[in-house]
Symmetry: C2
Subunit: 343 residues, 2 copies
DNA sequence: TTGAAAAATGCAATCGGTTGCAAAACTAGA
DNA sequence: TCTAGTTTTGCAACCGATTGCATTTTTCAA
């Protein structure tokens, strides 16, 4: 197959009788190049089909105008929307977006971090795998002054940007919402307590119970591995077969919550009368299930945009030693039919 | 902020008293380097924290071991799963994945194609924007021998790899499924007829009716712009208010189909008795809605993996002039509760 | 021991932009 | 017209890895 020779700034230089430096500067609107020259260069570049080689520029500058993303799973509503937000902001600023998924495994996360580093990303946006507990694989970025934004699932201690929601308050609000509906025995579908998001949601749940003088019943707090549909069904079955079943469930995600609704209905319980249920995330399924699932909003798109912004801004900043900088977004209870109206 | 100096092959060369060429070859397991040297080089590289610079290698080779993806929207179940499949295969082969979304606008698609080209992707995987009709922006890739895989939404004529399902047959099967359930007045939610997927689904629908001697009623074929929930509601309302409303709907996607179920129920029709409904894609919501939505499977993950494979294989191939090479995947009717059992 | 073939390694150019500094060209006031 | 200052442009090194070809080293049969 014949491959057309690509046009480089050297070709442009020859054509226009300028030096490559001038061409390069003209294309980048360098202030020391006259407007006349800039115009001429750009027009010619357009005409002859010149295309910049990002690899060359990236090599010279040791960064690639690329944001790396490291998430557990790409095909989840929250994550794919988060990425959509990142992509939108990045693209507007002329940045590319490299993606990778860890499948919630620390080992893969580590490998992917390496690869993204090797591609000299300008910044990294990470949502941690379920079981990641060591953060050494992020040090390579920090050492090179490459900004990292942890989003949603963040490490407790690592020094960097973070974009999160207030999971504690969200958990508190969700639980309080159930209490205000008259629920007294509230179960909780808890995610991995290694991850801040699930840990905090649970804490909010516990504190809401305490504040309303409801007992904490450990048998009502179900530890989940992945908060999957199947796990949700199993847990619901178990709960509803108890001698004294709960009258409500606060699930740490929507998937498990929806499975609880379906399972409860199948077992003859009515939702929300016998069992009120509230989820977390406002996934698309939460609007579709019947009764529609009350849940907690999760501003994925916005979190994505802010994460990207942090990286892009970082380029401008004076690189003092990087301090932790946390953005906390608002969430709210979305009351639908799966919980009882507030008294 | 202090930035640690990065280790290059030159540093390794100095340390080990070899030339950079030998280091490079050793790291790449070149056959002309002794196993002893390879071992030594690799161990030292590991020890001193050497990290390859993909930009440098990419510049030299004029390609970046990166697959570019161009899709309409990232946060849709089909697309995000497709990408997940691409990412998985690409990663295994040591390739990175660059993403971009066109928001279904040809103009953005063109701009993104440029950017991906400028990053010297090794291959491009595209699902076309709704209104794209000119394909000039793909020529730059073809001219450079960069393989393009069109997936799902593909151009009719462009010469390249294609990974699709048989939309015609799928549309035919979906319609036939309704007919076999006893439906006689079957409406169709049709997508943009510029895109093969929607055009072919409609053709399958039309032919199924014809073959079963059912009349084609143009008033039952509703043209959609985006097949959104809102559009679906509106269309359903309109249909059910007709003097002689349809007894079934074949929707070209699940979103509109689900909205039809909900809308029909709200209007007092029972599904599937009064109105049978079948969708397309097997999105997560289709399992959740009640009655559960019958639909057509869409092997997103597999399509992603195959698309990536096409790109990766292409690298090996003798680059004869690229011919069109089409992979057609199987789909099947997933019968759930929103359609009537087959007689 | 010698010579030729085979194996291992090195030289130097190359990929395409970017940029500090020097130099040239231009402007304007004296 | 001359000079100092300003604007514009060029020189050349550099980023880090790859690779064709030449050279050195090793191997082994004669």
């Amino acid at each position: 197959m014949e491959v057309k020779k690509e046009v480089t700034i050297y070709d442009l230089a020859k054509t226009l009788n300028y030096s490559p430096s001038t061409i390069s500067r003209a294309l980048n609107n360098h202030k020391s190049i006259s407007k006349k020259t800039i115009k001429l260069v750009k027009e010619t570049a357009e005409k002859v089909g010149y295309r910049p080689n990002n690899l060359a520029a990236g090599l010279r500058n040791n960064k690639s105008k690329t944001i790396g993303i490291l998430v557990p799973h790409l095909n989840r509503p929250f994550v794919s929307t988060l990425i959509s937000g990142i992509e939108e902001s990045a693209r507007k600023a002329g940045y590319n977006v490299l993606i990778s998924q860890s499948y919630d495994e620390a080992e893969i996360e580590i490998a992917n971090a390496r690869t993204l580093y090797d591609s000299r990303v300008s910044g990294l946006i990470v949502s941690l795998a379920m079981q990641t507990e060591l953060y050494d694989h992020f040090k390579q970025f920090t050492d090179q002054g490459i900004p990292i934004v942890f989003v949603d699932r963040v490490p407790k201690t690592y020094n960097s940007y973070k974009v999160i929601i207030d999971n504690y308050t969200a958990g508190y609000k969700a639980t309080k919402h159930l209490i205000q509906g008259g629920c007294k025995r509230i179960a909780h579908f808890a995610g991995s307590q290694h991850r801040n998001v699930y840990e905090d949601r649970k804490k909010g749940y516990v504190d809401a119970l305490k504040e309303h003088n409801l007992p904490i019943d450990e048998s009502l707090i179900i530890p989940f591995k992945t908060l999957s549909f199947e796990e949700g069904e199993k847990a619901t079955k178990k709960l509803l077969k108890m001698e004294q079943p709960p009258d409500a469930i606060f699930s740490a995600n929507d998937t498990a919550a929806v499975s609880a609704i379906l399972c409860a209905k199948k077992m003859g319980f009515s939702v929300p009368e016998d069992l009120a249920i509230i989820g977390f995330n406002d996934d698309p399924i939460s609007k579709i299930v019947e009764p529609a699932l009350s849940t907690i909003s999760h501003p994925a798109l916005k979190m994505g945009k802010i994460s990207a912004k942090r990286i892009l801004e970082h380029e401008q900043k004076e690189q003092d030693d990087l301090l932790t900088e946390v953005s906390v977004l608002n969430t709210e209870v979305i009351a639908r039919a799966s919980t009882r109206p507030i008294n």
